[in-house]
Each structure stands twice: as C-alpha cells, then as structure tokens.
C-alpha cells in the first residue's frame, strides 16, 4: 500500500456513511422479511459492509460493477437509490427492473450497476466484456467484479482471470472472502492457503487484505483502480471478512462454528471504525448519530414507498423478452 493512499478525513466519513447505510438496510431487510411483508430469498451481507464501501469511494458513477446474489451491499455502496431497491425486492413496478428481476438481478445502469447474477462466478466473465468495451473506447472507466470465496472454485473465475490478464483489461476482481461457500467452510473446499495466490498463476497482481479495515481496502482498491485506468491491467483483491448470518435468511446456520461467529460479531468493523472517526477528530458523535438517524429515516421511507407501489401489470410477462412483445 502506498502511504499517500490513506483516505482523508472526509473520505473516511463518506466510507462510514456507506457502511452505516448498508448495515441499516440489512437490519431492516431481515426485520421486514421476518414480519412477512416481503417474500424473497434474502442473502444477508451483514459483516461484509467495509469492502464495497471502501472500494466504491474510489469509483465514479461511470465506472461499472457486476455483482452477485449476495450483492445488495455492493450496489447500495455504488449509489443504488433505496426506493428503487426496495420496490424491486418487493416485486413492484417502481423497482429498478419493474419487479421482474428481484433481489438477485438488480440493475441500475445510471450508477454503473450493470449486471447482478444469481449464478456463482458469473459476474466475472461479463465484467471482462464491460472492461473490453472501455478499453476500446479509451473512456478511462474501470469495472469491478464482486464475488465470494466459493466462486473462486468455479471455472468462470479461472477463465476470466486468464482472459483479463492476456487482454490487460481494466477490471478489478474483488473476492469477498466471508469464509463460507454457502454452508461449506473455506478450509474444506478451497485448495491453497489463499485465493490471492491464484492471481500469480495468471500473471496479475493479487493481494489478500483485511476486508474489515476500511483504510486498507480503500488504499488497495485505489492502487488497483489506478493501475486499471492507466492501462496496466487487472488485479485480484481477496478481502477477508466474515458473514454474520447463514447463507440464506432462514437457514439455521448450524454449520457455522459458534465461537468463530461470536468472535467475528464481537469484532464488528462498524463500531470500531465509528469510534476511530471520532477519536481521530474526523467527525463527532453528534454528527454520526445525526447521519445514522437520516439513514434510518431514508430506509423506512423506502420501505413505505415500496409497499405502497403497485405490482406490475400482468402484461409485463410478455415484455422485455425481446425488443418487441411476444405473443407465443
């Protein structure tokens, strides 16, 4: 990490704002699903907030991301509006995708949120194509592909790293290593000490970092993004974190070691970073409390907006399959 890549105070507060938004949104999502007001598969990202918050602080709206079914945090951190998000996950016509995508296929191109996939590993091959387009257009944009540790064992990961390397694509592969591939631990299903090592096999830089340290994630992402913008090719970042809950909301997570989980939750990066911002003088307790209050109100307003939004007309089932409506 280059020393001058440490984010300034305002940037650190901005990263925290994104983290607090993600945390509040996850808590509300679980609450609303529990009360039966939303029916959807929900893949909680709680515990992984730092990674997209610190990465996104280096991105513009023009930069692209491709993410996965556990990726609502990646999109919120990139600027996905709350109301569009909530209306979509409620299956309503005011959602990002008119209710036709749902939580696993959220899309919002005006903020560079181009593809969300429900298939493990499939964010990466498509991210390469976005990056190829930027490379030809010489538009200086970069693409971030988010995925989990489980995805590092599927073929698409390997094909994508190799192609990105030989084509020197402006893409950053960000692996959020939450130490579980669905129910199976990293140790049990992943060969080699660290996923970052696989980068060397494809001739690209690879870093394993503390994904719960906003400063380290910011600086590493910034270096990788600058390298990509400069035409020097892709980077693999393996950001270590821990998923606080089970694979999908409602699973009993009996496969997660209770002590490990307890320790991870005790080391929650949010209160730690919050305290640091105050101690370092970048913000005050009152300012942060006000920020969190605003976030809570925004999330609540989004929920109310979503639940009041109509469902899509049944005619939508024939639209957007092709350019023109089909009548088969």
């Amino acid at each position: 990490m280059k020393n001058n890549y440490e984010p300034d105070g305002a940037t650190q507060v901005d990263i925290y704002r994104r983290m607090a938004l993600l945390k509040a949104n996850d808590e509300q999502s679980r609450r609303v699903i529990k009360t039966g007001r939303l029916l959807m598969p929900y893949y909680s990202y709680r515990g992984q907030e730092v990674i997209p918050s610190a990465v996104s602080a280096n991105l513009t709206d023009g930069d692209y991301i491709c993410t996965i079914y556990r990726g609502i945090h990646d999109m919120l951190a990139k600027g996905l509006p709350l109301k569009d998000l909530w209306a979509e996950i409620a299956g309503r016509v005011d959602g990002t995708c008119k209710g036709k995508g749902g939580p696993m296929h959220l899309t919002y191109p005006s903020k560079g949120i181009m593809v969300t996939t429900g298939i493990v590993g499939s964010s990466m091959p498509i991210a390469n194509g976005l990056a190829w387009g930027s490379q030809i257009a010489k538009d200086g944009r970069v693409t971030v592909a988010y995925f989990g540790d489980g995805a590092s064992n599927i073929g698409a990961f390997h094909e994508s790293l190799n192609l990105a390397s030989v084509w020197k694509l402006p893409v950053i592969f960000v692996c959020q290593n939450n130490q579980f591939a669905e129910h199976t631990t990293y140790e049990k299903c992943t060969g080699g000490k660290q996923i970052a090592d696989r980068a060397f096999g494809y001739g690209i830089p690879g870093y394993r970092i503390d994904g719960n340290d906003p400063i380290e994630v910011y600086a590493t992402a910034r270096e990788a993004i600058e390298r990509a913008r400069a035409g020097d090719g892709p980077t693999l970042i393996e950001a270590m974190t821990f998923r606080f809950f089970g694979h999908v909301f409602g699973d009993a997570d009996g496969y997660m070691d209770k002590d490990r989980k307890k320790a991870a939750m005790a080391a929650d990066p949010l209160p730690r970073f919050r305290a640091k911002l105050v101690a370092d003088g970048h913000s005050t307790e009152a300012e942060l409390a006000a920020m969190e209050e605003t976030i809570d109100q925004d999330v609540e307003a989004a929920i109310q907006f979503a639940l009041a939004s109509p469902f899509p007309d049944i005619a939508e089932i024939r639209r957007d399959i092709y350019e023109h409506e089909v009548f088969i």
Partner: protein
C-alpha cells in the same frame, strides 16, 4: 476457385458466391458499416489464420486488434466478454467454433444473454451474435457434429437462425448483427462450399421469415440448414413420381414463420418436417404440434417428422452416413403419406 482465376473469369457480378465467402463478406461489411461491431473467438484473427476454417480471414488485418480478437480456449469467457461489451453498446459477434462447444458456455448463453433484458426490466439488452458451425459428414464423431438448436429455441430471449444458401447466409448475418437481441447463428460445415448467385451488398434477410424454395401442391416439406438442400433434392425425386412437393426453408428456427408454413399446408394438406438434429423432442415436434392444432380436420395425412437418429453422431463412415436424413429418406417419408 482461387483468387487468381478472377482475372480470367466472367465479371465478378456474375460469379457465383459460396456460403463461406458470403459469411466472410457479411462480417467485413458489417464491421465497415458500424465501428461498434466486434469479432472474437478462438483462432479468429489473422495471425491464427482467421479461424479454423477461415470465415473471419482478413478481418483483424483490416479492422485491427481492438475489434477483432483471438481468445483463449475459454467459451464462458468468450460469451461473457461478448455480453458485457454488448450491454454498453458494442455489437460483438462471438464465434464458438463448434456447436457442441456451446455446452461449455450454456450458463452465459441461457442464464445471461437470453435473460438480461427481461430481468433488468428492459434497462439492458444483449445484441450479440453467436456464430457456430456443426453437422455430420466430416467424420468428426460424437462431440463435434451435433445440431443443438432445439435447446436454444426452447429458451425465451434467444433467436436461432440456420441459413442454407449464400444469399441467406449474408442477409441473415447482417440482420443478426443489426438485431438488438441475441442470435445463435448456425453454420453447416459440409455446405460452406455451396454456391449461389450474387446478391446486393448490404442485403438484409429478415429474421423470422421463411422462404418457399420450391412450389408444389401435394405436400409441404419444412426444413432448414443443410436439410433444406436435401429436401429440395427430394422434391425433384418426387416430381418424377407425380408428387408435387412444396419445399420451405425456414431459415430462422426461432421464431419460426408460422404464417408461411400454415398457408402452404392449408394448400397441400400434408406436411413433413425435416432436420438433422435427432428427432425426439426436436424442432419438428414443435412445428408438428402447432400445425396439427391449427389445421386439425383439414389435414389429408398425419404429419411426419424426419430427423437424425437418436444416437450420438457416429465416427465410422457407414454409421455416420446412416445417421442424418437425406433426400431418399425424405422422399420415403413423403411417399408413406400417399399410401
């Protein structure tokens, strides 16, 4: 015909053209007309000889390495790159060398290319063409010869075309590249050398429109790709037996041209559907079911299907030859409806 012959032959406008040449010029013309058209695939650039059979020869030299790229042998990466570039406005033509190799990229094709328009509520769409060649008859065995069009036709969001003449190959390629939605473009290996008359440069053949390639009054033979050529030959055999066959080349498998087929079968009262793909659960079953429902009561014979045998395509020549339909099998199927 070699290039040097051109100086002593008749004027170029009158020279016949092959499917091979038609595809090459369609790609070149599309790239010249629109800077957004890209070409990628295994071995497709000129240092790699412009593709294993040479369809893309000359493109990388003319249009540069940014737009024409040889890839690793990575079908998921190829289609993924095409999808990603397409959703931000590029128009990639991806070559999956052989149709069996699409199996390695099915996630990208079926879960992503086909569905992104719908799942994004129309915010993104995937204007890509996936060129792929196939067909029995070159002793390539069980993993290099299959017609898999029914799988793709079964997927909402995809279009499937399979021309049998140079003119249609050119015109459908241009239309496929124009299309805002993904197209699976099937090329038959053994008919690349088939010749046909010259056509106007820039020609478009609409996707979804069949062509009556032989008029007749007693029976309708519906086919596509190389089997359209065999069906036409069967029509000639049957003519000598006083059976007048109307032969339809669908040209597009999905969406198939119901109207042209129904008008013809209304007239003839009989139909045989022919494809090289294995018969069970094939395109012929879909067409037969639709036509049977529409024209129930007015058909003069049961609808017959002729397809490849339900087996992996064999290697040994006599076995491989026994696998696909041919003009004689098609004629036999027609005759059976007149007994």
């Amino acid at each position: 015909m070699s290039a040097s012959d051109a100086t002593i032959e008749a004027p170029a406008a009158e020279k016949p053209i092959t499917i091979f040449e038609a595809l090459n010029t369609a790609l070149a013309d599309a790239m010249a007309d629109d800077d957004r058209v890209l070409v990628l695939g295994e071995d497709i650039a000129d240092p790699e000889e412009g593709g294993v059979v040479g369809i893309t020869r000359g493109l990388s030299t003319r249009f540069g390495d940014d737009r024409v790229r040889s890839t690793p042998i990575s079908e998921q990466a190829i289609i993924g790159a095409a999808i990603g570039a397409s959703i931000i406005g590029w128009k990639p033509v991806a070559e999956i060398m052989l149709m069996n190799f699409t199996t390695v990229a099915m996630d990208m094709i079926v879960n992503h290319a086909a569905k992104l328009r719908f799942m994004s509520g129309g915010q993104t769409h995937v204007p890509i063409v996936i060129r792929t060649m196939t067909g029995s008859g070159i002793s390539a065995g069980g993993q290099h010869s299959d017609y898999l069009e029914a799988w793709f036709a079964h997927t909402a969001g995809l279009q499937v075309v399979a021309p049998s003449t140079p003119e249609d190959a050119y015109g459908l390629m241009r239309s496929a590249i124009d299309s805002p939605d993904p197209v699976i473009f099937i090329e038959n290996i053994v008919s690349y050398a088939v010749q046909g008359p010259r056509y106007k440069s820039g020609l478009r053949v609409p996707i979804g429109k069949a062509k009556i390639i032989r008029e007749g009054s007693d029976i309708t033979i519906v086919s596509y790709s190389r089997m359209a050529i065999e069906s036409l030959a069967a029509g000639e055999i049957l003519a000598s037996e006083n059976i007048s066959a109307e032969v339809i080349d669908l040209r597009t498998v999905a969406p198939w041209d119901r109207e042209t087929v129904l008008v013809s079968v209304r007239k003839t009262g009989r139909m045989v559907v022919v494809h090289e793909a294995v018969k069970p659960f094939g395109v012929g079953a879909e067409i037969a079911a639709d036509v049977g429902r529409e024209l129930f009561g007015s058909l003069r014979a049961p609808i017959e299907r002729v397809g490849g045998m339900f087996t992996p395509v064999p290697f040994s020549h006599p076995l491989e030859s026994a696998f696909p339909p041919n003009r004689n099998k098609i004629a036999d199927a027609v005759r059976s409806l007149f007994k």
